[in-house]
C-alpha cells in the first residue's frame, strides 16, 4: 500500500506545483502593479515631506499621520483639530452612507420586480440594469451634469411647468454629489439583491399569506430575512466605491464639495504633501477593510444559521 500512496502523494504535489506555476503571471502582475505599491504608500506615510512633492527618503516622521487629525497653527505652532479635514471626512462618510441607504430603498424593489418577472423576460430586465453599469463612469457623470445644469434638462422642464421662475443651482452642491453617487452605484445594489431573490422559494410567501399575514408582514418577516446575504453584499458593494469616490465629487461637486478621494488627490497635486496623502490613503483603506470585515462576519453568520 505504501508505494501507491507515495505515487498519489507525488502526483498531488506535482499538480500543486503546476498550479502555482500557472497562476504565477497573474499573481506577480497584481503584486507588482497593485498590492506591492500599497506597501510603499504605507512607508511614505511615515517619511518627511519633500519640498516639491515626493518625500525625503528614510527620514522618519509622523507628521503625515498627525495631519490627518490635527493642523498646526501657522502663527504659534500649536496643534489644533483639523476641522477642514474633518468636514471632508464627515462629508465622505455621510454621503456614502446616505447613498447606500437610498440605493437600498430603491434597489430592493427594483431587484424584487426583476426577480418576479416571468423567466424569459428576466434576462432583458437584467440587461437593462447592466448596460448603464458598464457604461463609462465619466460619461454617466457627464450625463447627470447635462441634466442638472442651470440651463439643463431638469431646470428647463421645471421652468416650462411654471414651478420655478429662476433656474435652481443644483450643480456643485452636496445634493448633486449624492445624486451622482446614487445614480452611478445603483446597479451594484440591484444585482446582488436580485441574485438572492432569484433563489427565493415563493411557496414560503404563499404560506405566509395562508396564515393571514399582510403584504408588509410577508415582506418584512419572510422576504427580507431570506434576501439578507444579497442586501449585505449590495450595501458593501455600494459603500466601498462611494467612500473612495473621486470622479463624481470632482465633476458634480466642483472644487468646494470635496470628498476623501479629492483630498488625497490634492496632496499629490497642488499641496505636494505626499506623507499626508499617503496617511489619508491608508486611512481610507482602513475604513474599507473594516466594512469588508463586517461583511465577512455577516456572511459567515447568516451562512451558518441557514445550515448550508
Amino acid at each position: 500500500m505504501k508505494p501507491a500512496s507515495n505515487i498519489a502523494e507525488t502526483a498531488k504535489r506535482s499538480d500543486v506545483r503546476r498550479r502555482w506555476l500557472l497562476s504565477a503571471p497573474a499573481l506577480i502582475t497584481i503584486f507588482l502593479a497593485a498590492i506591492g505599491p500599497l506597501l510603499v504608500v504605507l512607508m511614505f506615510s511615515f517619511m518627511v515631506k519633500g519640498d516639491y512633492g515626493d518625500v525625503k527618503y528614510w527620514q522618519f516622521s509622523t507628521n503625515g499621520w498627525i495631519s490627518v487629525l490635527f493642523e498646526r497653527d501657522p502663527i504659534d505652532d500649536t496643534l489644533g483639530i483639523a476641522t477642514a479635514n474633518f468636514t471632508i471626512l464627515w462629508r465622505s462618510i455621510k454621503l456614502s452612507l446616505i447613498t447606500t441607504i437610498i440605493t437600498l430603498l430603491l434597489g430592493f424593489p427594483t431587484a424584487y420586480f426583476i426577480a418576479t418577472r416571468p423567466n424569459k423576460n428576466r434576462d432583458i430586465w437584467l440587461l437593462l440594469i447592466t448596460i448603464p453599469f458598464w457604461t463609462n463612469l465619466l460619461i454617466r457623470t457627464f450625463g447627470i451634469q447635462d441634466v442638472i445644469r442651470n440651463e439643463g434638462l431638469l431646470n428647463i422642464l421645471l421652468m416650462k411647468l411654471g414651478l420655478i421662475s429662476q433656474p435652481i443651482q443644483m450643480l456643485f452642491t452636496d445634493g448633486a454629489v449624492l445624486l451622482g453617487l446614487t445614480y452611478v452605484y445603483f446597479p451594484l445594489m440591484v444585482l446582488p439583491i436580485y441574485s438572492s431573490l432569484e433563489k427565493l422559494d415563493f411557496r414560503l410567501v404563499e404560506a405566509g399569506y395562508d396564515l393571514y399575514a399582510t403584504r408588509f408582514k410577508v415582506l418584512w418577516n419572510i422576504v427580507l430575512p431570506l434576501s439578507k446575504p444579497g442586501i449585505v453584499a449590495g450595501v458593501i458593494l455600494v459603500f466601498i466605491p462611494s467612500i473612495g469616490a473621486y470622479v463624481t465629487p470632482r465633476v458634480l461637486g466642483g472644487g468646494k464639495n470635496m470628498m476623501l478621494g479629492n483630498l488625497i488627490e490634492q496632496q499629490f497635486g497642488q499641496a505636494r504633501d505626499w506623507p499626508f496623502g499617503s496617511a489619508l490613503s491608508i486611512s481610507l483603506l482602513a475604513i474599507v477593510t473594516l466594512a469588508l470585515l463586517v461583511y465577512v462576519k455577516n456572511v459567515s453568520r447568516s451562512g451558518g444559521s441557514h445550515g448550508h
Binding site: N136, Y183, V288
Partner: protein, 269 residues
C-alpha cells in the same frame, strides 16, 4: 406551482413595480440626454437646433481626440489580451481541485483589485512609477499597460472560472487516455469548451480598461491622454458637444461589448 391563490398575486408588493420602472427609466435619462446633445446642431447645450452629425465630424478631425481614442483602444487591447491570458491560466490553476494550501490566498490576491478603492491604487502607482520613471528614464505607455492589466485580471478571471467550474475533467481524462499530451488536451479539448468564458472575460476586461479614469489619470506621463482623461480635462473648461460625440461613440462600443458578453455567457453549451 400554485402562484396565484385566493385570486390575488402573491408575488406583488405595493408600489414596487412603480419604483422599479421609475428607477430603470431614470437610469437612461442622463445617458439619453448626452447622446441627444451629441446630435444637436447648435453650439448651445440647451437649445435644440435640429439633427446633425457635425460634432461627430469635428470630433473625428480633432487631433487630440483622435490621439486619445487610439491610445485608449491600444491600451485596452493589449491590457485585455494580457489579462485574459493570465486570467485563463489562473482560472485553470484554481478550479477543479479538491483544494490545496494557498488556494484561498490566490483568490484573495486575484480579487484584490476589486476591493481596494481606485484612488488608493492610483496614488500608490503614482508614487512607485514616478520613481521608476526617474531611474529608468522610460516614460512610455508601458506603465499604463501594466496598471490596466493588473486591475483587469479579476474581470477576465471571474467569468472564465465560472465556466471552468461547470466543466468536469472527464473529457480531458479521455483525451489523455487516447495519448494526448497535456498541451494537446488543453488545445483541442479544454480551450474550445472554455472559449465562451474566455471571450466573455476578454470583453469585460476590455470595457473595464476602456472606462478607467482614476488610475490612468495618476499613472499617465505628460501627453498620454486616453479618452476618459481627456474628457476629465475638458470639464475644467466647458463640455463641448465634440466631447459628447466622442463619448457617444465610446458608449456604443461599451454597449455592444456588454450585450455580446451577455449573449455569449447566457448560451449554455
Amino acid at each position: 406551482m400554485a402562484i396565484k391563490s385566493r385570486g390575488f398575486e402573491i408575488k406583488s408588493q405595493t408600489g414596487f413595480t412603480f419604483i422599479a420602472l421609475a428607477c430603470i427609466f431614470t437610469l437612461y435619462v442622463p445617458i439619453a440626454t448626452l447622446v441627444v446633445y451629441a446630435f444637436n446642431d447648435t453650439e448651445s447645450m440647451s437649445l435644440w437646433g435640429g439633427f446633425s452629425l457635425r460634432w461627430f465630424r469635428s470630433a473625428w478631425q480633432n487631433r487630440a481626440i483622435q490621439d486619445a481614442v487610439l491610445r485608449s483602444l491600444q491600451i485596452a487591447v493589449i491590457a485585455a489580451t494580457l489579462a485574459t491570458m493570465m486570467g485563463t491560466l489562473a482560472a485553470l490553476a484554481t478550479t477543479r481541485t479538491e483544494g490545496y494550501r494557498g488556494l484561498t490566498f490566490k483568490y484573495a490576491i486575484i480579487n484584490q483589485p476589486l476591493v481596494i478603492p481606485e484612488i488608493v491604487t492610483a496614488v500608490a502607482l503614482l508614487i512607485v512609477f514616478a520613481r521608476i520613471k526617474v531611474w529608468t528614464g522610460y516614460t512610455g505607455v508601458g506603465y499604463l499597460v501594466a496598471a490596466h492589466t493588473a486591475f483587469c485580471i479579476p474581470f477576465a478571471y471571474l467569468p472564465i472560472r465560472a465556466r471552468l467550474e461547470g466543466m468536469d475533467l472527464t473529457l480531458e481524462t479521455a483525451a489523455s487516455d487516447l495519448y494526448a499530451n497535456s498541451w494537446n488536451a488543453f488545445r483541442f479539448v479544454t480551450l474550445p469548451l472554455l472559449l465562451p468564458g474566455v471571450i466573455a472575460g476578454y470583453m469585460l476586461a476590455f470595457v473595464v480598461s476602456l472606462d478607467d479614469v482614476v488610475i490612468t489619470e495618476f499613472v499617465k506621463s505628460g501627453g498620454q491622454e486616453t479618452l476618459p482623461t481627456y474628457m476629465l480635462g475638458q470639464i475644467r473648461r466647458s463640455v463641448t458637444p465634440e466631447v459628447n460625440a466622442a463619448a457617444t461613440c465610446f458608449l456604443a462600443i461599451s454597449v455592444m461589448a456588454v450585450t455580446a458578453f451577455y449573449f455569449i455567457s447566457r448560451k449554455k453549451t
